[in-house]
């Protein structure tokens, strides 16, 4: 038996191909939207992977340092380092801001990393060019997505930094590229006020009778110094020693240090379940709308194509064609349209993904799921046309 659907498609290939291209662009948008979500999840995982930590120690009862602000004293890491099962511990700060270069600026997450050596938690685990930070101040390692190059002078708050190294795929959970600077610089940058504000603050403190006491020399200077420094960090990153499980190490820190500790799995749950949950819902809504629009388009096209063949369908029924043959013809055409649309959509998404400013991750599993969903949508969309075709009276082929 010949394929009626195949012959019809070959006969009206232009109509099918151009409709398929239109549908394919829509599917391309759908696949890209799914890729945006996957990219967000992957950015979150990359953030955790690249931190080099097994545990995140943060301010008690917070979801820090990525989902909520968290503040810890910067000397707390020493006590944590001495806990059983801790191989390494390091302070870290995170600050999302506009980093300036020349007249322009780039949105980036500035990461303050503790003095140490490559491999210390928080440090970029690898470089693609240059070297790691070796000085205590004013050097930076930047992700290449910032567009910075080796030797560039960048400005963070009031200080200038020289880019000495470049890394790759070091991003925040929002997809902002990271810029690594020494911890002390980052702590200063977090709470650095402008000169006028500092003067005002000093004058205010000096005028406070509680601090300006003639009988206690040095009290005012000590009070001002305490106000101007920033002895806080956002988290302590902990690497667990071999032979210990993260939970074994986390529990004593929670108990004795009165801090909140997250394992890798918990932190991933916070990032995916809380930080990007709203965005995921938003994208999910878009996907539902796009699926509905795709279904409406396929239904309309197949309905129109079937309407154009109503007389032929009446003739086919009159000469003895089974209903299932006619239904199969319409269904196959809908599926073929979906297949053309998918191929076009996949190609479109593949070429468009790198053009997006944030990471778009097209996963083969999503493509397979998308293809199956599309076939289901096409099958569903062909139901109206099939019902109409099956209702056609073969007597319509006979005039009078």
């Amino acid at each position: 038996m010949i394929s009626l659907a195949g012959r019809d498609i070959l006969h009206a290939w232009g109509k099918f191909v151009f409709t398929g291209i239109g549908l394919g662009l829509l599917i391309g948008v759908t696949l890209t939207m799914a890729g945006v979500y996957r990219g967000m999840v992957d950015d979150g995982k990359a953030l955790l992977d690249n931190s080099g930590a097994d545990l995140w120690v943060v301010q008690k009862d917070t979801l820090g340092p990525y989902a909520e602000s968290s503040s810890l004293h910067d000397d707390g890491w020493r006590a944590i380092r001495a806990m059983p099962g801790v191989a390494d511990a390091a302070n870290v700060t995170y600050l999302t801001m506009q980093v300036r270069r020349g007249d322009g600026d780039v949105r980036a997450m500035v990461v303050g990393v503790a003095a140490g050596e490559p491999g210390t938690p928080g440090w970029p685990p690898y470089l693609v060019a240059g070297r790691q930070i070796t000085r205590s101040h004013y050097e930076a390692v930047a992700d290449i997505a910032t567009g910075f190059r080796l030797g560039d002078r960048i400005r963070i708050r009031r200080n200038h930094y020289t880019v000495v190294g470049l890394t790759r795929r070091m991003v925040s959970s929002n997809g902002d590229p990271m810029v690594f600077i020494p911890l002390k610089d980052a702590q200063e940058a977090q709470f650095l006020k402008d000169n006028d504000a500092i003067l005002q603050s000093r004058r205010r403190t000096a005028q406070n009778p509680a601090f300006d006491r003639p009988g206690v020399p040095g009290l005012l200077d000590a009070a001002i110094a305490a106000q101007e420094g920033n002895p806080f960090v956002n988290a302590v990153l902990v690497r667990v020693a071999p032979g210990y499980t993260p939970e074994q190490v986390a529990e004593p820190i929670r108990r004795w240090k009165r801090l909140t500790v997250y394992t890798r799995a918990q932190m991933e749950g916070i990032l995916v379940g809380k930080l990007i949950a709203t965005s995921a819902k938003q994208i999910g809504m878009f996907l539902v709308i796009l699926a509905a629009v795709s279904a409406a388009i396929v239904a309309f096209i197949i309905y129109t194509l079937t309407m154009d063949k109503i007389r032929e369908i009446a003739v086919l029924k009159l000469i003895g064609t089974r209903n299932r043959t006619i239904a199969a013809m319409i269904l196959q055409q809908a599926l073929a349209l979906g297949a053309i649309g998918f191929v076009v959509g996949k190609i479109t998404a593949t070429f468009a993904a790198p053009l997006f400013p944030k990471y778009v991750l097209l996963m083969p599993a999503d493509s397979v799921a998308g293809f199956l969903a599309l076939l289901a949508i096409c099958a569903l969309a062909s139901v109206i046309a099939i019902r109409m075709a099956l209702k056609v009276d073969p007597a319509e082929a006979i005039g009078g």
Partner: protein
């Protein structure tokens, strides 16, 4: 193949019920022998199309009897279970317009019917080519319907009607869109095919050009048929 042609006795068709009921056919009697072509003529609303639809098993008669070849297909009720298979295997149709399937080439338009009946593609195409050759359109076998002239399309439609070797062909105004010369050519072909394949052919027509060609004519008026001898001009 053709057996005893088609015989219709007391065929009735009533539309609606009660006071609004309309008797479209009031006891039609007809007989068309194998190899014979008869004309069925009558004014609009006389019941021609209703009769054709009853004969074509697309609507249900109300009463009567129909015998196709050796088989009683209707006797106050359908005697065959699968009307679709009946139409496919035992009744050929030729329409006013050829209504060829536009996305199938000439050969496949003709071969489709045997394929639907389960005949292997190669054999179905061989049968189609044989008929196309008999109808002198074999040179257009690979052409699409849109590439054919009106006369060629109608010949392909006749081939499609004949391809399953049905005992009866119902031709509904087959010459309406054609000029005199082509109309007569179509009737000549129908006569030729009827004889060659022993098929009974009923031609419903208004076409004054071809009425003199029938040897027998059934006039239908107010739902009843009256038989009369035709001139039978030109096709012996």
């Amino acid at each position: 193949m053709g057996g005893k042609g088609i015989r219709i006795e007391g065929l009735r068709k009533r539309y609606g019920q009660g006071d609004t009921a309309v008797d479209a056919l009031k006891g039609v009697d007809m007989h068309v022998a194998p190899g014979e072509v008869v004309g069925l003529i009558g004014p609009s609303g006389s019941g021609k199309s209703t009769l054709l639809k009853c004969l074509g098993a697309v609507i249900d008669p109300t009463a009567g009897r129909m015998v196709l070849g050796e088989e009683t297909i209707y006797d106050d009720g359908w005697q065959v279970r699968d009307l679709r298979a009946l139409r496919r295997d035992k009744i050929g149709f030729v329409f006013q317009a050829p209504y060829l399937i536009p996305f199938l080439d000439v050969t496949d338009n003709v071969a489709l019917l045997p394929m639907l009946a389960g005949v292997a593609n190669a054999e179905a195409r061989a049968r189609a080519l044989e008929l196309l050759t008999a109808l002198d359109v074999q040179h257009r076998a690979r052409a699409m319907p849109s590439q054919l002239s009106g006369g060629e399309q109608q010949r392909v439609a006749i081939a499609r009607g004949l391809v399953n070797r049905p005992p009866v062909i119902l031709a509904d105004e087959p010459t309406a869109p054609l000029d005199s010369q082509r109309a007569l050519a179509v009737v000549r072909i129908l006569n030729q095919m009827a004889r060659q394949y022993e098929t009974a052919i009923i031609v419903v027509t208004h076409d004054e050009k071809i009425i003199p060609t029938f040897k027998r004519i059934y006039h239908i008026r107010d739902g009843a048929t009256h038989e009369e001898a035709g001139e039978g001009r030109g096709f012996d």
